[in-house]
Amino acid sequence: MNPAMTSALDWALHQPSYLASFLASLITPANGDMAPVATPFFFYLLSGLAVAGGLLVITRRNPVHCALALIVTLIAVAHLYLMLYAPFVAGVQIIVYAGGIMVLFLFVIMLVNIERASKDRRYNRIWPVGLAAACALMALFVSAFVKDRALFPDRMIKLPEGSNTQEIANALYGEAGRMGQYTFTFEIASLLLLVAILGAVIMTKKRI
């Protein structure tokens, strides 16, 4: 067998011991400086939830069930951001996607007659294309993982959790009067959003 595959298998077989060490950390005082939150156990739990939610989104017929499953996925992804020591991104993910956009989704879905809509035949047959695209993406990920594990850091990078918000602000808006790394792109993106909002208002208003 490929040595990379063997080490990956070996790594996967060690997961129960990670779970055991997490459970042990609950009853014994931790001596490290950082809380052992980012354990493989939590990673697999959250990514499992995200994948399960994603599968439910595309397999359920009832759109409200799909929307609820999508919310589960979005919240699981928000927790993955937390594990990457990016609390600000996680909070924004929950506010914008789970709290804002999904509520509007549900709002629109509830106005649709679900009884009739679920009996309608799907008018497009693009799912083979979607399946092929998903498989290609999966193959890309797997090949990247198996071929070169050096791409990924062996141990997690400890970023200062407390400064995440400040780092993002510095990158977006710049610090001490200088333009940040992404200030220009950020402003362009906000202009795009403004145009989209104006377009929505013009489309819905009969008379401006």
């Binding site: 950390s25 609950l26 009853i27 014994t28 005082p29 931790a30 490290g32 809380a35 009832n62 409200v64 069930h65 609820l68 919310i71 609390p87 600000f88 996680a90 909070g91 924004v92 929950i94 506010i95 789970a98 709290g99 804002g100 999904m102 509520v103 509007l104 549900l106 709002f107 509830m110 106005l111 959790e161 407390g162 995440n164 918000t165 400040q166």
Partner: protein
């Protein structure tokens, strides 16, 4: 485990920051029990206060002055038949109240009852609170849809439109308060709930009074948006009983219905805590910088005990005013026991206050300090709870278009203007 229990006792950190899972669990249990108890008390107090606003007596039969009424209500709700309509979406109908309850209780992890009296001090505290409490609307929306009935669906639609609109005004007023935290020497603000209160202490002013009247206007906008966010009168369009029977929870009964009530009241306490933390100085007692001599510390530490003494005195007056007829004998004894209990708590708090005076390191001194923080925080939140009842008794319900107009055309421009003015004034002042 004992080691973990003992090691936290001397620290000044929250259990989350001290990385102590055992104490975090203890804090979570205390907060869960405390909030549930507060909801029970609030239930009784709301019925009594509303009754007195309308020159009625309110509950008087179950226990002296209806004090046992919440317990009777709880037993009734638990014994009631739990009906799930046949045409309802069973799973979603089942999970809707759970979503609301989870969202309402999760936010309590970051509410600072004191500098170390919180489960965790998150770097994104206020963002977390706004985000998770905005998930609460999902429970309402989904409940209205799953009931498969017209009134609940209309109630849910109204509720989601209302919450999404008022969230924006709420967020804008919160941003202007967060902006105020950054007007210090370092020029860096904070999103942490504990950090916000600390910066009010450092700047020596509650944000309610900072840049008068900008802080006050932001605070007032927040209070209006907060009443709308929790679906309380006069913005209770989602359950307008004269139009929609009971709105989104029409089809719910028994324990499930009580879960909705529990999450509504828990959410009320949570948003009041945000207001208290952002504008009213959180756990800080009045004038912590101006009157900081040990003598003043002692005087303010007597307040918790004196409050309970006052409550005990009111209860004793109630005992004295009971009719002398023999059929009131049991009620009279019950109220006297309740009054004695309150007096005992008052005595305990006063003893701690006096014993903790001598040194800063003894257990009693630490207790005195902690009780002081929690007392001032709860007192401020309790004022907000009374405000909710007061508003409900005073104003008639808005029409839905009026509600939307206030949200989008009045509150949003005002809060945006306050945000811009706060930034301008802050830059000019520093």
């Amino acid at each position: 485990m004992l080691n973990q229990f003992m090691s936290y006792l001397g620290s000044n950190l929250t259990p989350g920051s001290a990385n102590n899972q055992l104490w975090a669990l203890i804090y979570v249990l205390i907060i869960f029990a405390g909030v549930s108890l507060a909801v029970v008390c609030m239930n009784w107090f709301e019925r009594k206060a509303l009754a007195h606003f309308q020159i009625r007596l309110g509950p008087m039969r179950v226990g002296p002055h209806g004090l046992l009424q919440p317990i009777a209500d709880a037993i009734k709700l638990m014994l009631k038949e739990d009906i799930i309509p046949q045409e309802a979406d069973q799973f979603v109908f089942w999970i809707a109240p759970v979503i609301g309850l989870l969202a309402a209780f999760t936010v309590y992890t970051v509410i600072p009852f004191g500098p170390s009296q919180a489960v965790s001090d998150m770097n994104i505290g206020i963002l977390f609170m706004l985000g998770v409490s905005s998930l609460g609307v999902l429970g309402i929306v989904v409940a209205g849809w799953a009931s498969n009935s017209h009134y609940p669906l209309i109630g849910a639609l109204r509720s989601s439109a209302q919450m999404v609109s008022y969230e924006i005004a709420m967020g804008m007023s919160v941003v202007s308060a967060i902006l105020m935290t950054s007007f210090n020497k370092e020029g860096t603000g904070t999103l942490s709930m504990i950090g916000i209160v600390r910066s009010q202490q450092e700047q020596g002013i509650w944000f309610l009074f900072k840049f008068f009247p900008l802080g006050l206007v932001a605070f007032m906008s927040f209070v209006i948006a907060m009443i709308a966010e929790t679906n309380r009168a006069p913005f209770d369009m989602a359950e307008a009983e004269s139009e929609l029977t009971a709105g989104y929870h029409t089809e719910y009964s028994g324990l499930r219905w009580s879960l909705f009530m529990l999450s509504e009241y828990a959410a009320m306490i949570a948003v009041s805590s945000i207001a208290v933390t952002l504008w009213l100085g959180g756990w800080l007692r009045p004038f912590p910088n101006l009157l900081h001599a040990p003598a003043w510390d002692f005087i303010f530490s007597l307040f918790p005990g004196l409050t309970f003494l006052g409550l005990a005195a009111i209860a004793f007056i109630g005992v004295a005013r009971m009719p002398a007829h023999f059929s009131f004998k049991i009620q009279r004894i019950g109220l006297a026991v309740f009054a004695a209990l309150l007096a005992f708590i008052a005595l305990l708090l006063l003893v701690i206050a006096v014993a903790g005076r001598s040194s800063d390191t003894s257990i009693a001194a630490r207790f005195r300090e902690g009780i002081g923080y929690v007392y001032w925080f709860i007192l401020k939140v309790a004022l907000f709870m009374y405000l909710f009842i007061w508003a409900r008794a005073t104003w008639p319900r808005y029409r839905f278009d009026q509600l939307m107009r206030i949200g989008w055309k009045v509150l949003l421009p005002i809060t945006l203007g306050v945000l811009v003015l706060t930034a301008i004034v802050g830059v000019l002042a520093s």
